[in-house]
Amino acid sequence: MKQKLSRQSENISLAGVVVVLFIVFTILQPNMMTVFNIKNILVQVSLTAIAAAGMTFAYTAGVFDMSIGSVLALISVVVAKVATTAGVFPAILAAFAIAAAVGILNGLIVTKLGIQAFAATLVSMILIRGIAVLMADGADVPLYSVNAIKFISSGTILGIPFPIILTALVYAVSYFLYYKTEFGMKIRSVGSNADASRISGIRTQRMITAAFILTAVTAVFSSLIKTAQVMFGKATIGEDFALDVMTTVILGGTVITGGKGNLTGTLIASVLIAVIKNGLNINNVNSYYQQLAIGVILIFALIFNGIKTMRNTRQIRREG
């Protein structure tokens, strides 16, 4: 109970920060609190939040994925190319197939070759970006002819923007997977203690690969939203995406060394970052200062997180 509460307390304090910031921004610029702007923020949230759900699995399994920004670009180009020639559904199918392949590739490099996740995904990041640029042939692939795609970013169901529905769905499935299934438990156990997992008969390599696949697959949703927003297949999008997503996950309270993720925290952290960006924008703050502001807020979040971790290890040491 206490543990559950402590996890919740972390989320509650993070959510508190969101509310306070939102109120401050609204006082400074009342336009913040309009239905239009809130929808806008939530659509912004969906971009990072969806991929961050997958990344939470990766961190939990003890790895992370630098390549998802490049995946975003590659999927964007592929979707544009296939959609204009073969149609929307083949395009989406191809997107998921490619993402799964990328996930498997990352997983195999890390597990079979024993290369650290950072190095492995850094390499695939460069590689995949290269493929995307080659495929696009240095130019953006226009999507004007396929208007149906527009629905992914700006369509609504019962007045709710589609990206928000997509986010809700991804999180519902992730929650279920993470907390309620054997799969989730195994992912957590691999990140918590790989040796013990192996002795317990868990295929640790498969689990790590699965985490990479999940990350890449969730990045597909983000890519589809982004692509539909710009209506171009762009090989240059998402250069900061991996870092944004990783920042979100860590800010949300997921432990970097594996074993303990916090999906709720990840979701709240995505909202927090989107609120900060939107609030600064709406108040006409210079974009240079925006980076600075986000940096300062992150430092505070990490200090808070660090104090908590320190307290935990001290407690563990006592029991040893």
């Binding site: 279920f176 309620k180 438990m185 918590s192 013990a196 192996r198 002795i199």
Partner: protein, 499 residues
């Protein structure tokens, strides 16, 4: 003389719970003073207060007539205290020599470069003195658990402290090494050092200690000269009631061969290992450090491969490519490295116990696990093995060693197992829990399971097992039945001098 170290009314609370409550006793200069008690009795907490890791909430520590204010590890070292902790504090990526002199780097040349050779030589001197056969330039990560323990001891001795605290130094050592440690302790005592010694093993306490202090539930129970105590009395003081010994346990071993291993060989690790395990049998595996018995068992379990040889499970040849396959066939494996390869520290007690049985749980829609099922499994094992924890969601790292071990055993018991491979099933756990684990082993044997148990403590091996095979340098050098058990014989075989 009689009160070199005076511990006065030391209290320490963690989150409102007393870990130590008004503990007072004296330690004489130049004596070996054993502090005993079950896990959670507060021994380690007290030692950490002396070592400066924790600060006491109340009370005082007087050393050599002066009240000392120990607020940090540095303060503690300043008082001439050196602590060998239960958990290793070695840096795996550094060499043995670098670890030994980690806080005490030898003289540097004028450029500030550490004289590596000198350091290695100094390290070798200490290691030689202790008769530890470890290369000072070897990386600590390549050492076995017991070698690490010896390096830890060497590190503490390198500081030339007056007061040496040993917090369960023998938990990872085998008989031979324990004997060497006893010699070292005797040597230190002769030099006039004061040694505070914590151990669960009664025998070595009686071998070495001059005085015994017993703690129970954070409170002081008694201090007496070791010569005036018997083992049974110490146990009674520790647990607060008498413990029944099981000298005449029936043997449940039958004729049915459960597991047969033939000429198992992995080059440079073990060679032509053959043995049989019968139904209802507790088969002990003895040997010195690095004798290859853990490796043989790991290979059978599928944790790594072997070059040649055959393994038969109930007459059928098997070869497990990974541990999952072994588990499918009803074999389970209890690690001797509970902290690093056993528990999932960031997960709850409940998740820790169900991690293996989860694959057999009924799942709604093929993958949804109902929480009540997990809770039910935990409850079953909690009752069966008397596991103590605050709540099912509690992280397992907060439990005592004995309870963690019970959770690990419970993990295996929730499956339909036929063969239990157990490496040091009682390592680092207290007397009460140890007895419970023994009776669990007997119960499993009675139910027709086969148990392979590795014990470094020969007294345990002799007490618990029906039969033993002895390893030396990757080969089986002897096999003994219960009637033939005796320490000298096992040691002779373990040294490779057998028939």
């Amino acid at each position: 003389m009689g009160n070199y170290i005076q511990i006065r009314d030391i209290s320490k609370k963690f989150y409102g719970v007393y870990a130590l409550k008004n503990v007072s006793f004296d330690i004489a200069r130049g004596s070996v003073h054993a502090v005993m008690g079950e896990n959670g009795a507060g021994k380690s907490t007290l030692m950490k207060i002396l070592g400066g890791v924790y600060q006491a909430d109340g009370g005082s520590i007087i050393i050599d007539g002066k009240e000392r204010n120990i607020r940090s590890v540095q303060d503690s070292a300043g008082c001439g205290i050196s602590v060998i902790y239960q958990e290793f504090n070695l840096v795996p990526e550094l060499t043995v020599a670098e670890n030994i002199f980690i806080s005490d780097v030898p003289k540097k040349t004028f450029l500030g470069i550490v004289e590596k050779k000198k350091r290695s030589d100094n390290a070798r001197k200490i290691l030689d003195m202790l008769e530890i056969h470890v290369d000072p330039d070897e990386f600590v990560k390549n050492l076995s658990v017991s070698e690490k323990q010896m390096v830890e001891i060497a590190k503490a001795l390198s500081l030339n402290a007056e007061i040496i605290i040993m917090d369960e130094p023998t938990a990872a050592l085998n008989e031979e090494e324990v004997r060497r440690l006893e010699e070292i302790v005797g040597m230190l005592k002769k030099e006039g050092k004061t040694i505070i010694y914590i151990s669960h093993r009664l025998k070595e306490v009686f071998d070495m200690a001059d005085t015994v202090t017993v703690l129970r539930n954070g409170e002081y129970v008694d201090t007496r000269p070791a010569a005036e105590l018997t083992e049974a009395e110490v146990i009674r003081l520790m647990v607060g009631h008498d413990v029944v010994q099981d000298t005449d346990r029936p043997v449940y071993a039958s004729e049915d061969v459960l597991l047969k291993v033939e000429d198992l060989t992995l080059k440079n690790v073990f060679e032509s290992v053959s043995f049989e395990l019968h139904k209802g049998e507790i088969l002990g595996m003895a040997g010195l450090m690095g004798c290859g018995r853990e490796e043989v068992l790991s290979a059978i379990y599928g944790l790594f491969g072997y070059d040649s040889g055959k393994v038969f499970l109930e007459g059928k040849e098997v070869r497990f490519k990974n541990s999952g396959e072994a588990i499918e066939q009803g074999i389970c494996f209890l690690t001797d490295d509970r902290k690093d390869a056993g528990i999932f520290p960031r997960m709850s007690v409940e998740e820790n116990i169900t991690i293996m049985s989860i694959r057999h749980m009924k799942k709604k829609w093929g993958f949804y696990i109902s929480p009540s099922q997990e809770a039910g499994q935990l409850k079953k094992m909690t009752e069966f093995m008397n596991i103590k924890y605050a709540r099912p969601e509690q992280k397992i790292s907060y439990l005592s060693g004995g309870n963690q071990q019970k959770v690990l055993l419970g993990r295996d018991l929730l499956l339909d197992n036929k063969i239990f491979i157990m490496l040091e099933p009682t390592r680092g756990i207290d007397v009460g829990a140890r007895e419970e684990i023994y009776s669990l082993l007997y119960q499993l044997a009675r139910d027709g399971m086969g148990i392979i148990a590795v014990f470094s403590d020969m007294n345990e091996l002799i007490r618990v097992c029906d039969r033993a095979v002895v390893f030396c340098d990757g080969r089986i050098t002897g096999s003994l039945t219960k009637e033939e058990f005796n320490k000298e014989k096992i040691l002779t075989y373990a040294a490779g001098k057998g028939a």
